[in-house]
Amino acid sequence: MTLISDEGAQELRPRSELTASELLREVASVLRLSEAEAAKLGDLPEDPDEDQTMVINMGPSHPSTHGVLRLMLELQGETVLRCKPIIGYLHTGMEKTGEQLTFMQGGTNVTRMDYASPLNNELVFSMATEKLLGIDGDIPERAQWMRMLLSELNRMSSHLLFMATNGMDLGAVSMMIYGWREREEVLRFFQKVTGLRMNHNFVRPGGLAADLPPGWRDDVLRILDMLPERLEEYDTLMTGQPIWRERLQGVGVITPSEALALGATGPILRSTGVEWDLRRHDPYLRYDEVEFDLIVGSYGDAFDRYAIRLNEIRESMRIVRQILDLMPEGDYRIQDKKVTPPPRARIDESMEALIHHFKIFTEGFKVPEGEVYVAIESPRGEIGCYIASDGSPTPYRMHVRAPSFVNIQCLPHMMRGGLVADAVAVISSVDPVLGEVDR
């Protein structure tokens, strides 16, 4: 089973091949510390004892690496001395493909990045495009609220997925199934709204692809009524469970300054006690009009990250309830001929509408020259979209700042000195989605 897929310099090198200074440098790079800080650790390079350490590969095909993350761990016994994540096994060239697709088609590309919360990806791409077009202030109210509704529901489904995989990774097999069971309810709603369970391409520049279906309110209410009780079950099964606490508390600790230096965002940053949530601190859509609490941890350990996500589900439910009350009537997309295709009904009647429709979906619309960076809060942290346009209907460069890609840099930090079992808990608590790591 030993994996022989040689990735050369990307791999962790055995101590015997390294001189002390090289090791120091490598430690610095792997730990993402500056070299000066790494030198302070001092003792590490001195203790090579080559025959007592063992380098093992975790992944890319390993049950607990959430897809195709590959970790090289240097172990002493079962203690992790060094760790290096090797990524790219799911590199899809989406940024390159994004340059070939028009702004209209771009959504279907970015939605496949973070497959656990596709709607947030579409949202950030659409918002960046709108900003480039200069129509970001004109998006109709209803569209904004709908986007919030979908985004929050997506946050719930994504965190439920986390609950499932986190439980699974720590050996609570039933939790896995329970998490999926609840997520499935949310996906049903998505399927009803967007037609798809995942990869919706529903949020588009200028608004959304369609209006909410009749009866959506009842469906959402059904989810909201069902979930609290299930979350209590989670509390019984996991939060209050001594083994669970033992396994997570004090594991994978990271300090606020480390998290900030490493650029970590989302639940990881919040678990260290830093209050930073773009929904609150850099409000987009209508987040400044709803009430919700920021969930902040204090120890920066895996348990905090678990608890934060669990409670964020509750907060999202609170937001969704407010959205249900506040959802205005109106248009679900901007009525701007430039970016909005004509309604389906008009295509049958008017030749011009047909041509317009055809052009928008084949050629796309031209976007003025310029470049923007737009960031929103995805379930994993700050997802940003940097688009440079040269005035053509396709982005000149489309880059997505994926939260998992940055967060994954915390892994070596968190794992250091832990056990192999902790490594699993740590990966799980970072909750990376490899689709967005590798893009």
């Binding site: 003792d43 001195e46 203790d47 025959d51």
Partner: protein, 173 residues
């Protein structure tokens, strides 16, 4: 029937013993040792030392050899030792001669003195009573020795812990 048991068990014992000294690989040697130990346990049973048979398996096979294997795996010394190279040419034949000589001497002594043993094994104390009697012997006549062995064990454990303790943080040492 008894003969059959004796022959089979003896075969196990000897095959295992040969395995111990002839196998290149320490793990195989350890497996040979387990075979020997089992054979001896069978002999114990047929001599009605049931308790000792069980203890033989539990202590020897279950603990001591497992410890051996543990150390072998821990140290990674499981690569085969090359038996064909021998630094001292004379050592091996000499060893065989000495071994055979010792065995021969003992066998001779046993055969000469067998009349004192009596030819027929008597039926010993059966079943639970055997264990009771062993216990009585251990905890009355030999209780001092018994306590001493427990002290010995503790000393051994402590000594080993001290011996194998890894010195962390070389600066302090």
């Amino acid at each position: 029937m008894e003969l059959l048991v004796f022959v089979l068990a003896s075969a196990m014992v000897l095959a295992g013993a040969i395995g111990v000294i002839a196998c290149n690989n320490p793990v195989h040697a350890a497996l040979g040792l387990v075979l020997t130990l089992f054979g001896i346990a069978v002999h114990f049973v047929s001599m009605e030392a049931h308790f000792l048979a069980a203890v033989q398996v539990i202590v020897y096979a279950g603990a001591i050899v497992v410890l051996f294997l543990f150390v072998i795996m821990l140290l990674g010394v499981d690569r085969a030792e090359d038996l064909s190279v021998e630094p001292f040419q004379i050592q091996r034949p000499l060893a065989v001669i000495v071994g055979v000589a010792i065995s021969g001497l003992v066998i001779a002594a046993v055969v000469r003195g067998r009349s004192t043993l009596g030819e027929q094994l008597e039926s010993g104390v059966p079943g639970d009573d055997n264990i009771r009697e062993l216990a009585r012997s251990l905890f009355s006549d030999n209780v001092f020795a018994f306590e001493l062995t427990s002290v010995l064990l503790i000393v051994a454990v402590v000594g080993t812990v001290v011996l194998t303790r890894r010195q962390r943080g070389g600066a302090s040492k």
